[in-house]
Subunit: 456 residues, 2 copies
């Protein structure tokens, strides 16, 4: 386990296959390590070049005068075994094999050969056929997409594992734009050595990771995966999206990652038993992750809706009911207190409809009453920021009420640029925001289910 | 029908209840009409003010020296009947009653009184209890949210009707930010005169409207709605999202719009028979609208997937299968031609996987082969723009291949700011883009179902 730490916090990295040509993977990786936040030493290795970006280039990892913790290997597959041999002699602790052309195209012999060499030298390997990893804390970044094309998220507490490299990079890019923060991104591809189970175990002990997300199409070792996930899901929520759930996609899975996709029902059952939360699309993975990493556990299933738009209140009521929740009935004392402090046109039912005349003060009264009322377990708060009388301070009110973490609160808010700015502020302050009530209610459901499971 | 035209193209508008106070609805509406794109005359009416923004203010609509086509009424409910009487004497053609306080709070008598006066004078009325309308072509804009808080979409071909005013304004704001273009936005609230059926009929004959979207919680006159929708759905696709589908939300519906929400099953059956396409959330309404307003009708149910990311290809395969489509099997001739023109690592199955080494040229060959192949009915095109070798010109390639409209093409693309810019370019050129394969496949399904229905 401890050795996996070298992947995320290496003191020095050799980029084997670093290149002067801007479109080559070895160029982009070397450049990203130099220009990004990584603080350690980076050595380019390429026998055909003297220097790259004015850095002296080494013909082999063995010629690097200082110790090398990690090797990032991006050279044609057939050269990988001898390179690993050199890495072993150099004392390299871990290697990321970006190169493809192994078992995913039926070349299992070459993969086994490389695996044997790595094992002999005690090198832990990620890959082959991966995009590698990104750690926003240490700045380790082997993602070979240029930074202008693909954003990098800031440090946070969500980790994402992916069998597919492209999916990992799309998610990083999307999270970066949304302002969602992350702990670690890892693509593990053919999983010749380090597999999804190892990574789940590692991340479950990582103090910077509060929730583990994973996209995969099949598992290498089902029994190991199940037993690790079952234990670790008690330490950290594990949220999974499985690709290849239909008959039609099985063939595609086998030519993508070489795995057997398996029956949808078998997987769902296994997930449930292992305490894994299953998401139905990638966006939902992060809906769940943001809610589970920020919100306290609910005591029961009663949801109070507060809104400033009647239509959204009704859509939310439908969503709450469809997820099997009850609508909370606030106590008489709360309602009388609230009645005395908000205008008469405010509808004090569930949803509480503050109407298009809502103000920050009205939101404050309503949220605080719902948080204090013992008949309310969760709050689904709709805040449509467009209305004339609502000042941006409502964001401070929400953050303030949520910061005590007495009850789970999720926010629904939708609109254009003005709304996006306010939603980003909420997200930055640990309040998950959704564009539609359905996603908010489904996220509360994931939180509720996880809380119930972890009590068992 | 023709008189409804005055709502969207009035030569002059009186804002009755215009105000100097920035937070008053009558202030925002008057200001938006002055500062927006509306080219006609705008008259403020308010007996307590001499001028607003240096414009002379009239004590009554009767004192305006020139003809008035439309009155926007934002004064307390109890003054509405006498104001309508004055409008009638002035010869006003149509009125939007923004004011609330009528049947939605049980005040049916006042609503009936106002209705009788309007009818007597032949004034068509939108409302009461509405946010009114926005027409991006004529610039008529009675949406009382400030422009800095809520964006306005550019002229296009999607029209949106909403019983709920807040929902309408949120959608406008969101479409504005996304760059989705629109023809007309109308909230009809209590529908004292003009109702959803009238508006559907009007928009079905509007040459600028290619698709009609509607959000509602209940209909005023079910029989009229059904018979109009059934006829008009043959002229234009009608996409509906119904709020209040669960037992829990019925009570909320009645206090929001005073309607009976009705059984979910009853509505779904009625929609199907009337040829209305039902969406399950507001985002999906516009997924469908963008696809149906831009894409040709498919000849059959066979979908070809083209991708540069294996994972997304598999997720798309699942989504295609779940929507009841078949995976297309391209003919030997197409495949041989393609094999000769793309690198050997390209997987020529369904999905066609161009891999992370994809280039614009490879996309061009693959799309063009799929469009020409008679075994392909629709194309689901995944384009992850982050990969190093893919230049932005791929967008031109896609637009070019799609512009002939030989077959429906929808694009899946997800990521951060760089990707968003390219997606916006595609959307601007009539290529619908989705962030996840599920939404893309569901949109193709809506298009396919509508095509089949309209053949009947």
């Amino acid at each position: 386990m401890e050795q996996l730490d070298y992947f995320f916090n290496p003191k020095s990295i050799a980029v084997i296959g670093a290149s002067r040509e801007p479109k080559k993977i070895g160029h982009v990786i070397f450049r990203n390590l130099l220009e990004g936040d990584y603080k350690g030493k980076v050595y380019p290795v390429n026998p055909n070049t003297d220097n790259i970006f004015d850095q002296p280039c080494f013909p082999s990892v063995l010629k690097i005068p200082k110790p090398v913790d990690m090797a990032v290997i991006c050279i044609p597959a057939r050269f990988v075994p001898e390179t690993l041999e050199e890495c072993g002699r150099k004392g390299v602790k871990c290697a990321i094999i970006i190169s493809s052309g192994f078992s995913e195209i039926g070349n299992s012999g070459l993969q086994k050969e490389a695996g044997d060499i790595a094992r002999k030298h005690g090198i832990r390997v990620l890959g082959p056929n991966v995009i590698g990893l990104f750690d926003p804390y240490s700045g380790v970044d082997t993602i070979f997409n240029p930074r202008f094309k693909q954003q990098r998220p800031k440090p946070g507490c969500i980790s994402f594992l992916s069998q597919s490299g492209a999916t990992l990079s799309v998610i990083m890019d999307w999270m970066g734009m949304k302002g969602y923060r992350a702990s670690k991104f890892v693509s593990y591809g053919n999983a010749m050595d380090v597999d999804e189970a190892d990574l789940i175990e590692y991340l479950s002990h990582d103090r910077r990771t509060k929730v583990i997300c994973i996209y995969f199409e099949g598992v290498v070792n089902g029994r190991k995966f199940y037993s690790v996930a079952r234990k670790m899901s008690k330490r950290r929520p594990i949220i999974a999206m499985k690709g290849g759930l239909t008959e039609s996609s099985r063939a595609a899975v086998s030519s993508h990652t070489g795995n057997l996709a398996g029956e949808a029902g078998v997987y769902s059952g296994m997930f449930r038993q292992a305490g894994i939360i299953q998401a139905s699309d990638l966006e939902q993975v992060f809906d769940f992750a943001r809610t589970l990493s920020t919100q306290p556990k609910p005591k029961g299933d009663r949801v109070q809706i507060i809104t400033d738009g009647g239509g959204f209140g009704i859509i939310a009521t439908d969503a709450v009911a469809r997820n099997g929740f009850r609508l909370a009935k606030m106590g008489d004392r709360s309602l009388q207190g609230l009645r005395a402090s908000v205008p008469e046109y405010v509808v004090l039912k569930n949803p509480i409809d503050l109407t298009g005349n809502a103000t920050s003060e009205m939101y404050e009264k309503a949220i605080s009453a719902a948080i204090r009322d013992p008949s309310v377990d969760m709050i689904l708060l709709i805040c449509l920021f467009q209305i004339p009388g609502l000042s941006p301070e409502v964001v401070d009110v929400i953050i303030d009420e949520c910061s005590r973490k007495a009850k789970p609160v999720v926010v629904v808010s939708s609109g254009g640029s003005y709304t996006e700015v306010l939603k980003k502020t909420l997200e930055d302050n640990m309040v998950p925001c959704f564009s539609c009530p359905k996603r908010a209610a489904e996220s509360l459901k994931a939180l509720y289910d996880y809380s119930r499971n972890s009590k068992k």
